[in-house]
């Protein structure tokens, strides 16, 4: 659908222009150098280079904690109010291809499965995703092994490719074209397109596929030594799930405040012990073995059976975050290779 050129020096002016009519969310450095997608104010410093950030744009659509309703009063005078609307047009910058694909997986659940979750749905409709192709993979990355690519376009409205002092901007949708129709963008020549193609090929070459994910889906079995072998060292923390762009499990809880109270939903994970513990104490998944089996089977078997596509886009965040080096790539390679 055409392309354009955007000099790096024109990025912030372009972004400031966007702020006039959009909320802009972009990766920004925090604390000890970790990057997080935050709502932008004009003078913030956006980080568009480097590798895939440890936190993902999932946080915009399914924040770690968000109010579902507030209430006040008691008895028959109890009143309940919905949360503030969050459907204003938003441009999200620096979205990596694996994260854009991940949002499509979340769509299957929040828009597809039975009733639509309108909180998520409103934000999705109002979001324009400006992608950034990956030049160098992070050490946990394996998108090419699960049908993805460092230069994938699925789910994106624009795809930027870093050319050093400027970006090649591939237009992928009408919404993307609208963003490019400003003086900040210059025309792109066929040579630019070829160079972008070359850069993409180079990035892909750096990431040979480690296993055939399609084959894995068929080989995930209930009774298999691979679960216990990897899960034995799992310490049941939530790092892998909370950073995963396709993990979407949440809990709903209430909090009493001075004015009355709020019901919120917050991230939860099948790796925590009480995720499935029932009132009287029965827990169908008592140890980490069942929980690792659930997490891997859900993404590589159950979602394939339900939606025909895997629930993992190979971003590698779980690999990098695991304190005890449980590497899902090793688990999947073992499953594909059959028990050696």
């Amino acid at each position: 659908m055409g392309a354009a050129i955007l000099r790096k020096s024109d990025v912030m002016p372009w972004v400031r222009g966007l702020l006039a009519s959009y909320r802009v969310v972009a990766p920004m450095v925090e604390g000890e150098g970790t990057i997080r997608y935050r709502s932008l104010t004009s003078e913030a410093s956006v980080v568009l280079d480097g590798r895939r950030p440890l936190r993902s744009p999932k946080e915009h659509f399914l924040p770690q904690v968000e109010p579902l309703l507030t209430f006040r009063g008691t008895g028959t005078a109890l009143a309940v109010a919905p949360p503030a609307k969050s459907d204003s047009a938003t441009v999200i910058l620096g979205v990596r291809p694996c994260d854009a694909r991940a949002l499509a997986r979340l769509d299957d659940v929040f828009l597809g499965r039975k009733d639509m979750d309108s909180i998520y749905g409103d934000r999705r409709k109002a979001a324009i995703l400006v992608g950034l192709a990956c030049a160098t993979p992070s050490w946990g990355c394996f998108c090419t092994s699960v049908g993805g690519s460092p230069a994938g376009t699925e789910g994106l409205d624009l795809l930027l490719t870093d050319f050093g002092d400027h970006y090649h901007v591939a237009v992928l949708s009408e919404a993307g074209r609208a963003l490019v129709a400003t003086p900040a963008f210059g025309p792109a020549t066929d040579a630019d397109a070829a160079l972008a193609e070359e850069r993409h090929a180079a990035a892909i070459a750096r990431m040979p596929a480690l296993f055939d994910a399609e084959a894995v889906a068929g080989k995930v079995e209930w009774e298999a030594p691979v679960w216990m072998r990897h899960a034995r060292r799992c310490l049941a923390c939530g790092a892998c799930s909370f950073l995963c762009p396709t993990c979407h499990c949440f809990d709903i809880q209430d909090e009493v405040t001075a004015e009355g109270g709020v019901r919120f939903r917050c991230w939860d994970t099948c790796q925590f012990g009480e995720f499935t513990r029932m009132g009287a104490g029965h827990n169908p998944r008592p140890t980490q073995t069942e929980r690792l089996r659930q997490r891997v089977s859900h993404k590589f078997k159950y979602l394939v059976e339900e939606f025909g596509r895997m629930g993992c886009t190979g971003c590698g965040r779980c690999v990098e975050a695991c304190p005890v080096n449980i590497d899902i790539r090793s688990v999947l390679a073992e499953i594909e290779g059959g028990e050696r």
């Binding site: 604390g31 440890l54 992070s138 050490w139 923390c237 809880q253 917050c266 991230w267 975050a321 005890v324």
Partner: protein, 322 residues
Amino acid sequence: MSNLETALRETAARLLRDGRVALVLGYEAGSVPFRTAPAFVERAEDVERLVWNPFCTNNLATYLPKVKSVGRVAIVAKGCDARSVVTLIQEHQIPREQVVILGLCCSGMVDVERLVPAGGSLAGIAISTGTDGRLTVESDGDRRTLPVGEILQERCRVCEYHAPVIADEILGDPAGPLTAPVEPFAVVAEMERRSPAERQAFWRAQLDRCIRCYACREVCPACYCRTCFVDKAAPRWLSKASTVDDNWMFHAVRAFHLAGRCVGCGECERACPMDIPISRLNRLLDREVRGRFGYVAGLDPESVPPLGTFRPEDPDPGGHEG
């Protein structure tokens, strides 16, 4: 380093063959050159999996309460890890005779981020260890030789007990080559030069980034409560919402629960995906407990933890004025 690895494998094989232990808790090769993974070796012929290198960062003592049901357990323990074992024995989490401590004289663990220049990628990195212990690192097309001593984790640079204080077998040279430790409490004093308002701003900004994944709690050997205060419903100390106030409360209470118990293994900070400098809280309390009660955690399994006892001559409250 490799002769230590060989000695470790032989010792483990002997313990397993003689039936002295049912399980050897050690390190095996990780999925990438700069990581190792906790290993659970139960058969003598599997000891080849055991490795020893500057990437054996996990504190394996955290597994002891979880695996003690298998019977007697051997554990590969660095200086800091051994002190965690002392704490677990001291607090009756595992009987002394049920754990065989393979004490490794450690010369420090590598800070993985320092393997590559700033902004460099660890993807596809290759690492080989020279006989002199220097690492040859190849990444992004260039080769570098790095002495381990220059790329140590912060906790190793301040380490005072690189030779385990308790062990059934000692591997390596107790008088080892570790350079003089950096003053451990300098990082604590640095924060104390800031005003309370600046400290509050610093910690609220840091703890706002906490995603409450509890990796810090789960890797910590001293955090073994069956039901953590975080998971209690009545009373509900903490909301499950990761608001900055609840994160603040979680880290404040956890740090206090480790007063006089934390051995400074630094795994909480290493495991934190958000790189929040939480071990500073423990380092502060370590300094205070040493200063006030002359007590260092994890040295003597017979001693009583400082907050579990008192002395009549403890100082009276000073009635702090503003």
